[in-house]
Symmetry: C2
């Protein structure tokens, strides 16, 4: 197991404090584990307090000896209830709390215990600093990509006529886990659960579902109506494999296309267009286009190549994003989307996924996880990008 | 795919309305998908409104044609933003909302849109009615158990000296998925993620982690510090397999013990005691003991048989529950726990899991999912209950 080095954690906390000062916060609490993992290195059952002045306090419910091993923070306090918290912190006026994710009742209870304080949502602060990946983080993402590469290399062995999508997904996942994939992908959402087994073949590739994706897939039941299904994979249909990997909490996302026998011509052409859009948009990232400009430019390309009715889904189910930042959450800053106006900054890691959907027939797409560094877009998920025919 | 019948959904809504009237609610909103799946039959991206008087309205963001197929409700309305909601509902004074799970910011935003209303947490209402499982629900849980039985039957083939715990977990999961297991287990928690791959061998069975479990396991990294790990399974050590299955959203939970070569004597004896406690506690369920009494009784038995230091964990990591209701959430009413005072009611389904932990050596346990019906405890997860030696 790799633990986050002390310098890494210290640097993150220092960046946070700069933003806290700017937001006039006296301190900030982190109840949600995604962010306290980022700021501490541990996902034990904890509650992190970062004062504007002074050392962070990590309150640990369970299990403190593991938290000590995993986190380089020095002030760890064993606690049983949030009622124990106030005695350890100085009186404050404005405190940060993750109001975008913590349930309403829990916020009220915490506020009741903390007394007369003003609560401010501090999630934008961690989202902001998480945008820029450190070399340590990039190392973990490269390891995730290495696992992904090995897993994708087994797909040709798994594909045979009559195999169900879910069988392929399950076998990929089993192998990925044996290499260190943690099984879960994580998203900051009450209702959306990310999953790795997004294997769609032929018409299931054109089925839309609850997820904000051009193609949701059929899934296994009304209780899990997305991703791989019991549909049997047939010859000569497009097979889209969009399989995320998670290593030490860090995710990479990628999509490649497969077929048994042959790939129908419309998907061969559409896939080429997806790759073309992918490449051209990355050029524009380098040129400093904003998120919105990148998205609009990609749509123009889709139209220009004659794929306006298929690009990023069909009407009325088109999605309004082409890419999403990725790290300890599957979708984080920066996005490449219709409503985001910032440029892509140095150190960002994002997944870019041009996809085309043909109603009733299926879909195709191409996706990579990309690191924008030194003014260049470097593809982390460097898997063979040709259509694989088995 | 099985869809919830109209009578089933109508009966659930009627039960809800009785509790709503008792709570003086004019209407209730369900944003969290676990409960609106229960009340509608669909997990598409929706928002359910149940007025005290009149028909439920299901607002569907994505994808309405699937929601129509999956849900027998008749009033489905396509919507884009919660701003669209007020025009469809009459003015109300007291409305229910799932304040235990919906993020603080989202509640405030919704309240702003709904105007001058009093918000009341309505999650206790659905938790209450979900306690009693219908024949339709039991059918789905029996199907989940059937999948579990097949999956457990493959364990002897998967166990060999030197195989990593996570390899066994991954293979079990791949097979389970090919039979309809949905991959995810669901819990009502911000920070705890349920998972199926809880395969612990030898000393990893005595490692405690963030989870509220006598044994958490080592896991794969600080970002997923629970469950199966890269530890290689050896001869003559206890192998605990606690693997949940989810079918159409309904879960079953079960634990059995395995060993390669032979099982050390202390675990053979402790396992017998676990089974004895399991059986005797179920007798007391039938006799009408309350949750707390059942829990205390089981502790007395643990002490009496000489396992006070091991039963449900070792100090200070002992857990304070022996069982948990199970259904569309892995942990729901009724619990068998130190702080719960109700008796187990007709129609309940719960998992009961006496477990013993021996620091540094490992653990053992026995667990079944049980249906309490017609005054009897019927074991749904009817897998061979002997220690399996391979």
């Amino acid at each position: 197991m790799k633990y986050a080095p002390k310098e890494e954690i210290n640097a993150r906390i220092e960046k946070l404090k700069v933003l806290m000062e700017r937001a006039s916060l006296d301190g900030a609490f982190f109840h949600y584990k995604i962010d306290y993992y980022y700021l501490t290195g541990t996902m034990q059952d904890c509650l992190l307090f970062v004062p504007l002045d002074g050392e962070p306090l990590l309150f640990v419910k369970r299990e403190i000896s593991r938290a000590r091993r995993e986190s380089p923070l020095v002030n760890l306090i064993s606690y049983r209830s949030i009622k124990d918290i106030p005695q350890h912190v100085k009186p404050m006026k404005r405190i940060g709390m993750q109001l975008d994710v913590i349930p309403y009742n829990d916020v009220l209870r915490f506020k009741g215990i903390m007394g007369n304080v003003e609560l401010v949502d501090c999630s934008p602060l961690t989202k902001e600093i998480r945008k820029h990946k450190s070399p340590f983080e990039i190392g973990l993402m490269e390891k995730a990509a290495e696992i992904g590469k090995k897993v994708y290399a087994t797909i040709p062995e798994l594909l045979r006529e009559g195999v169900a999508e879910i069988e392929v997904g399950g076998q990929m996942e089993a192998y990925a886990k044996s290499l260190g994939h943690e099984g879960l992908l994580r998203v900051r959402s009450l209702n959306y659960e990310a999953y790795t087994w997004h294997i769609l073949s032929g018409r299931t590739g054109s089925i839309v579902s609850q997820s904000d994706s051009p193609m949701g897939g059929l899934g296994l039941s009304p209780a899990f109506p997305v991703g791989a299904s019991f549909k049997k994979i047939r010859k000569n249909e497009p097979i889209l494999v969009d399989f995320g990997i998670c290593y030490h909490g860090y995710q990479v996302d990628q999509t490649r296309m497969y077929a048994i026998g042959s790939m129908p011509e419309i998907f061969v052409k559409a896939y080429d267009v997806c790759k073309e859009i992918h490449d051209r948009v990355l050029d524009k990232v380098t040129e400093g286009y904003t998120s919105k400009e990148l998205f609009e430019y990609s749509k123009e390309l889709g139209d220009k190549f004659g794929y306006g009715d298929h690009y990023l889904g069909y009407k009325p189910h088109k999605v309004r994003f082409l890419g999403h930042g990725i790290g300890i959450e599957l979708a984080e800053l920066p996005f490449i989307a219709a409503t985001h106006t910032y440029p892509i900054e140095e150190g960002a890691v994002f997944a870019i996924e041009p996809k085309m959907v043909f109603p009733g027939k299926g879909s195709c797409g191409y996706e990579n996880t990309v690191h924008y560094t030194n003014g260049k877009c470097r593809i982390i998920t460097d898997i063979d990008d040709s259509i694989i025919i088995v």
